[in-house]
C-alpha cells in the first residue's frame, strides 16, 4: 500500500502491538458514516409505522393501517401483510378485471358461454378453483374419484342424472338422492347370483348363460322389478338416476377393478344384495347463481 502512493506513507492507527505490529489506517469516507445514521433513522420510522417490538404477550402495532372488507363491512386494522393481501385481492387491478369478466359470464346465456372460446377458458380456470373447494372432496380434483364405488366419475361420457346443461344445473342446485333398494332379503342368495350373471352379460362379460337367463326373468319380471328403473333393455333412466347397465361404465360395483370373473360377480352381487344409497347435497344455498353457472359449464366440459 505504501508503495502505491509513492513515498507518501500511509497513516497508521498509531498503535503498535508486540513492538512493531501496526495497522494501516485508510479512513472511510465520512458520508459512509452518514448512511449508517440514515439506516438508524429509517429503523426508528419503521418502528413507528409498522408492527415492531414485542411487548409482554403482544407487540407494538405501529400507526400504519390497512382497510378492507369483511362480510360486507369495512374493517380497519393495524398494518400487516395478511390484511394487505386481502385488501389487494379485493381491490387490486387484477381483481377488477376478474370481476368485470365474471359479470360478463353471469350475464351470458349457457349457449353464449359454451360457444365462446374466451369465456370457456375463463370459466374453466375460475370453476376449477370452485370445483376444488366444493366438489373435489368427493369427486376428486380432476373429477375422477379415487376408486369406483365412491362417487360418480365426471370425466367419462356416462351421466346418471342426465348430461345436458339443465340436468347438471339441477343436480348441483338441488342435489340428488341416489337410491336402489337392497334385494338380498327379498330374493335370497341364489337369485342375487343369477341377477349378477345377467347384469354382467348386459355389458358383454363372459357369464354362466343358464344363470343369466334365470336372472333375466327376475330382472324383467315382477319378482325383481329391476326394469322399473333400469328399463327392460337395462339402459337406465336419468330421471331416477338409474345406471345404464349395458355400457362399460360402473359407478358402484367395481367391475373394472376386479381381478377375475368371480370377483366381478361378487362385486355386482354386493350391490344387488345391499342396494345403493348415495346422496349429493344441494348447493343452491352455499353457492351463488354465477358460481353454479360456472360449475355447470365446467362439469359438462370435463368429459372433453
Amino acid at each position: 500500500m505504501a508503495e502505491q502512493n509513492q513515498g507518501k506513507a500511509v497513516q497508521t492507527t498509531g498503535h503498535a502491538w508486540d513492538g512493531d505490529l501496526q495497522e494501516f489506517n485508510n479512513p472511510l469516507p465520512r458520508w459512509w458514516l452518514w448512511t449508517f445514521y440514515a439506516t438508524v433513522v429509517f429503523a426508528v420510522i419503521y418502528w413507528i409505522w409498522y408492527p415492531a417490538w414485542p411487548v409482554a404477550d403482544s407487540f407494538t402495532k405501529g400507526i400504519g393501517t390497512v382497510t378492507y372488507q369483511r362480510d360486507g363491512k369495512e374493517v380497519t386494522t393495524h398494518w400487516n401483510a395478511r390484511a394487505e393481501l386481502i385488501e389487494e385481492m379485493q381491490t387490486g387491478s387484477e381483481t377488477m378485471k376478474q370481476q368485470a369478466y365474471l359479470q360478463k359470464v353471469a350475464a351470458a346465456s349457457y349457449d353464449e358461454i359454451v360457444n365462446d372460446p374466451d369465456m370457456m377458458a375463463f370459466t374453466r380456470s375460475m370453476a376449477k378453483v370452485l370445483f376444488a373447494d366444493n366438489c373435489a372432496a368427493c369427486h376428486g380434483v380432476g373429477g375422477t374419484p379415487a376408486r369406483i364405488g365412491l362417487y360418480p366419475n365426471l370425466r367419462d361420457d356416462a351421466w346418471l342424472w342426465g348430461g345436458d346443461i339443465a340436468s347438471i344445473e339441477q343436480t348441483i342446485r338441488e342435489g340428488r338422492n341416489g337410491f336402489m333398494p337392497a334385494f338380498g332379503q327379498v330374493l335370497g342368495e341364489d337369485k342375487v347370483e343369477q341377477l349378477a350373471h345377467y347384469v354382467l352379460s348386459l355389458s358383454g362379460h363372459a357369464v354362466d348363460t343358464a344363470k343369466a337367463d334365470l336372472g333375466q326373468a327376475i330382472f324383467q319380471g315382477k319378482e325383481g322389478g329391476c326394469y322399473y328403473c333400469h328399463t327392460e333393455s337395462g339402459k337406465g333412466m336419468a330421471s331416477q338416476g338409474a345406471a345404464n347397465l349395458t355400457d362399460a361404465i360402473w359407478t358402484v360395483a367395481d367391475v373394472p377393478g376386479a381381478a377375475d370373473d368371480a370377483a366381478r360377480i361378487n362385486a355386482v352381487e354386493a350391490v344387488v344384495r345391499n342396494g345403493v344409497h348415495r346422496q349429493m347435497p344441494a348447493w343452491s344455498g352455499r353457492l351463488d347463481d354465477t358460481q353454479i353457472k360456472l360449475l355447470t359449464v365446467y362439469v359438462q366440459s370435463l368429459g372433453i
Partner: protein
Amino acid sequence: MSQSQLYAARTNIYPRSVSGRFRRIKWAVVVLAYGVYFLLPWLRWERASGANQAVLFDLAGRKFYLFDLVVHPQDIFWLAGLLMIAAYLLFFVTGLAGRVFCGYFCFQTLWTDVYILIEHLLQGERPARIRLAAAPWSAGKIARIGLTHVLWLLMAFVTGLTFVLYWGDAPQLLGHFFAGDAPFAAYATTLFLTATTYVMAGIAREQVCTYMCPYARFQAVMFDKDTLIVSYDEGRGEGSKGRSRLGRQLKTRDARAEAGVGDCIDCGYCVQVCPTGIDIRNGLQIQCISCALCIDACDTIMDSLGWERGLVAYSSERRVTTGEQLRLLRPKVIGYAAVLLLAVGLLAWSVAEQAEFDMSVQQVRQPIYVQLSDGRIQNSYEIKVNNKTNRLLTLRFRAQGLPPGAELDFGRFEEVSLQPEQRLRLAASVRLMPDEFDGHSHPFELVAEPQGNVGIAPLAHPSVFFVPQKEPGR
C-alpha cells in the same frame, strides 16, 4: 500523528476542461446516448394492433414493443441471451481495452460529464470554481451555486421522467403526470430517479465508481499484461533524475536530456482534468475509469511545446515494463469474441425465426385416462395457443400419428379464431380403442394449421396418448 482519523471528509474535485481526440469521442457518445434516451419514447410507430410507440415496455399488457418486434412473456429467454451477450461483451472489451465501458459509456460517466458542464458554464473554469467554493457566502455565490443545483435537479427530473415514459404511452402519460392522475409508480419512479441522478451525478460523482460500483472492482480481474490501460511513460517522463518544471535551463528536450530530466514538465494538467482526482503518473489505480482525458491534457501540452505526443497514452502493462509492442489479438480476446459472436448469432436467429404463433400441449394427468361407455380410452389435453401476429388468425387442429379410428375432440372449437395478440386456452381429448393394452404412452403430434392463405406454417406439438396396462373390466 497521535490521534488518527477513522473517517475522512471528502476532497472535492474540480476537473479542468480539456479538448482533444478523446474528449471529442466522449462528447459524441454523450450526444448520441442523450439523443437516443430522451427522444426514443417520442418516436411513433405504425402497428396494425397494439401501441403506436416505437419502444414501449407495456407491463400491464405483458408485451414489450421494440420497433417491429413484439416481445411476449414466453420470449423471456431472449432476456437471458441479451444478458449473456452483455456479459461477454463486457469480458471481451475489458480484456481487450480495459475499462472502456467506465470511461466512455457508463451512465454515471455520461451524466457526470453533463453535470460538470453545467457547473462549468455557471461557475467558470476550475480555478474560478475553487475560488468560489472557498469564498464567503454572498448573494452572488448563493445565486451561482443555487442556480447550478436548480439546473442539476431539472436535469435529474427530466432524466427520471423520461425513464418513466418508456413504460407507458409517452404523450398520454406526460399529460396524466402533470395533471396529477398518473399511476403512483410513475411518480415514485420519477422521484427516485431524480434523487439518485442528482446525488450520483451532482454530489457523489467519482465516489460512486470508487466505493459503490462492483464493475470497477471486478473489471480489474479481467485485465492481463496486454490489456490497454491509460499509462504514463515513466522512462520518458522522468529521465534519470525525475520530472522537472520548465526552468530557465530546461526549456528544450536536449537541455533536459543533458540534465537527466525527463519530458514531464510537471504542469499538473493531467491531474487537474482527472474526474476521479488521481495522478496517472503514479501508475494504474483502482480509481482510474480510463476516460483518457489525461491523454488529451498531456497531448495538448506536448503539442504546445512542439514535442512528440504520447507521454501519457494508451499502453499495456507489458509495454510499460518491457517496452514490447502492443499485442491486441490474444487467445483470450479471440475466445471471448468467438463466444460473443455465437451468442449474438443465436439470439438474432431466435428472434428472426420465431413462429408467428405458438402452441403448447399438456396432457391432463389427473386422471391420466378415463374409460368411456363404449369401452374406448380417452386422454385429455390442455392446449394453449398464442397469436403473435397482428392479424386475425384462424387455426384448425388435427392429430398426427394416432392409430386409425382415433377421434380428436375439441368440443366446439376445432377451428378457433384468435384476435391479434390473443392468447387462448382450449381443452381437447383423444379417444380410441387400443389394439393392445400395453401400459405405454404413445407419442403423437397435435398440429395447428392456420386457415386461409396467410403464409404461416403449421405448428406441430408433440404429446402422448396413455394406454392402460389392462383393459378395464376384462
